[in-house]
Symmetry: C2
Subunit: 433 residues, 2 copies
């Protein structure tokens, strides 16, 4: 009976690609194997990962994934910034490929899923097609892009940015590592991933789809399995250096103080108020705060802090920035401090392709999965690919919303669901005319 069932299933699969499902155990085995390279064990036994871009660990991870690509018979190319693309041929070699992918570098205290899922989920899609003898009109490409995290070399999403022509190759190769000052181009050559394929790419994909963990709590909180990603929030990062007058906490009357710590506090409470009043997708965070000299009985002489503002709407993001600017000026005047500002990052929002968004949504719904439309709060390679081809993303839930954390986890049922959606989306796109 087992054999019969298997035969029936095989027959059904071959006959009906829409009924194809991925093998989540095989996917988990690959996630585990890749996660062991650069593994970091946390204080409570969490199995996290520190596989920073262009380190020895990154090379070992790349070698493992390229080996899997070759085992699956994919044609592997490595470009001049180290992006790797493995292609399964389609029936019509003249057509542009459908590309899936993400990145395999991690932050210093990262997990096993961020990025890796999009790449290994792509391999799982290809292996499912191969196993079930399903051909596609268009080639299917699985890519991983160099230095998405930006944990070692800034800016983040560097490999995909160069891939789409947004940053000159030579400038990218000259970037220096934040930790040891190493040159990106030298590190790329050292680990053997300065490839011969030209970059930026000469041929845009037909479409790009990226499966990724949500990295936030929204799906879990809503009890929804599939996030249909509509775009990526615009990001505005500012560093402020507020300078006042150091003073004795006991002997300086309140009216004679010029306290940068007080101003930093009002600004921190103020960005919360801006986000609350604007509502919608507006978020606002003060993540860094440093007092100098940082002593219990001394009014600080200076404070450095950062403000992270994000919105899916460029006009609203500018409105948030404007409100924050106004607060800075008013508080600086009132307290008699100076505020120096430095922009650390500024990206406009990205909107994904409407047809691609619909395709992810209808596909997930057809598979019986709950969905919700949502923006991505984090940056992804997909936002770079969106510059050269129709693009969308599929999000799956992060347990407790955790990411960039050794305890990062997505449940196996959600990995199955997300990768099944990826498979079915790819099948439809790869048979497009």
């Amino acid at each position: 009976m087992d054999a019969d069932t298997a035969d029936t299933a095989d027959t059904a699969d071959s006959a009906d690609p829409a009924a194809l499902r991925i093998d989540v155990d095989r996917l988990l085995r690959r996630l585990d194997a890749l996660g062991e390279i650069g593994q970091v064990i946390g204080p409570r036994g969490e199995r996290g990962c520190a596989r920073l871009a262009l380190t020895d660990a990154d090379r070992d991870g790349r070698d493992l994934v390229v080996g899997w690509m070759r085992d699956l018979g994919l044609a592997v190319s490595i470009d001049a910034i180290g992006n790797v693309v493995g292609v399964r041929a389609g029936d019509d070699p003249a057509l542009a490929p459908v590309m899936v992918g993400s990145h395999i570098d991690t932050v210093r205290t990262g997990g096993r899923f961020d990025g890796n899922l999009g790449v290994l989920g792509g391999l799982e899609v290809v292996e499912t097609l191969i196993t079930h003898g399903v051909a596609t009109r268009r080639p299917v490409a699985v890519a991983f892009f160099t230095d998405e995290e930006g944990a070692r070399f800034q800016p983040d999403m560097l490999g995909s940015l160069v891939y789409v022509g947004g940053l000159a190759l030579e400038d990218a190769l000259d970037v220096r590592a934040a930790d040891d000052g190493a040159r990106l181009g030298d590190e790329l050559a050292r680990i053997g991933y300065a490839g011969p394929t030209p970059c930026p790419t000469a041929a845009a994909p037909h479409a790009y789809v990226e499966l990724h963990i949500e990295q936030g709590p929204v799906l879990e909180d809503a009890g929804v399995t599939i996030g249909v990603v509509t775009g990526v929030q615009g990001i505005s990062w500012t560093e402020l250096t507020i300078t006042g007058q150091s003073a004795h906490a006991g002997t300086t009357p309140m009216r004679l103080r010029r306290d940068p710590g007080y101003v930093a506090a009002e600004l921190t409470a103020g960005v919360r108020a801006i986000a609350r009043q604007m509502g919608g997708s507006q978020v606002a965070t003060v993540g860094r705060m440093e007092f100098t000299p940082n002593l219990v009985n001394v009014v600080p002489s200076s404070v450095t802090m950062t403000v992270d503002l994000r919105n899916t709407d460029e006009h609203l993001l500018q409105q948030a920035e404007h409100r924050f600017d106004t607060s800075c000026r008013r508080l600086a005047d009132d307290e008699g401090v100076t505020i120096e500002r430095r922009t650390l990052a500024r990206f406009e929002p990205v909107e994904f392709d409407a047809r691609m968004i619909d395709l992810v949504e209808t596909t997930a719904t057809r598979l019986g999965l709950s969905t919700m439309r949502m923006p991505s709060g984090a940056g992804h390679d997909a936002q770079m690919l969106a510059r050269i081809c129709p693009t969308s993303m599929i999000f799956v839930p992060s347990v407790n919303g955790l990411s960039h954390n050794l305890a990062e986890l997505t449940e196996a049922t959600d990995l199955q669901a997300g990768t099944d959606v990826l498979l079915q989306v790819v099948l439809q796109l790869a048979n497009d005319g």
Copy 2:
């Protein structure tokens, strides 16, 4: 003519002690000489001092001052906690001495005046009496107390606290240094200042007067020369550890955040509001603030901060503490964070002796100096001496209100004025019945 003038002056002085004035050049020479021991030159040429308690530099400073005491013929005693007292005999050996003094240890980035002025001003008073052949009924004692700053060994004002019986000698000797863990008693013996005189003292002084720089901007701001110190503010220091949930700044909606940085900001703005609303002598400072993990795009998991509350009135200080407690509880509930609290220090306010306060005020006024009554916002040895004898303090202006700072400065005219007041107050007290 010069010789005649000098003779005339000598005669006038001997006849009328009320007309005696100190020699500010001699005082400045001593301040400079002591300031060279442990000297630190700042980036703008400021000549500051790092002479931490019971270091080699402290020993060298003590040796210098003890040498000056002996040169003036004072009887020097060193007690078991290293407090040093030099006594000029009075006409009636049965009477308790009038004591002046302060400390000669400094903080790590200290100046030349804090503490040193009270000790060297005392020597200057004695030398003026000697030079002009002025005898007093009571002995005059010049003291410097061990480890007033608490920069190396906690608590601060340790030597004077043991002197008045507020801390057991054995416990004080067992205190460990914050930096290198050295035992206070061992360091005291190492530098040769574990003396034979019993401590706490067996005989309270008749009165204690401490000349000190203000360490704040009030006198300069008011254009007043002499601060008539009415007491020392009560101090309440609390360290808070606020724990929330680390989260991605882009992917975590505002409503799902438990942000300890936001709570710390509201509390910091809140203590300013408490001080403003209470008015009077109430001051409130957040001097330390540390975010973890302190990254631009991560809602912090925890924040550590300190709150320094001071008031001259114990009841009002408790009211400020209570208002702050209420804010903590409300914000912790609203944001879903936990707040752990640790008391770092708690001292009740000290009121100086009413007759002693009047004496400082009337003396300064008689010398033609402007005065204002004020509390001390900082702690001083005088607050310990106030436990065993009538006590008061004389403040002189700090340029720009700076203290605990390499740029600490008091102008020569103010040094002259303050030390003249000290001299005339001592003269009156030392002739008390």
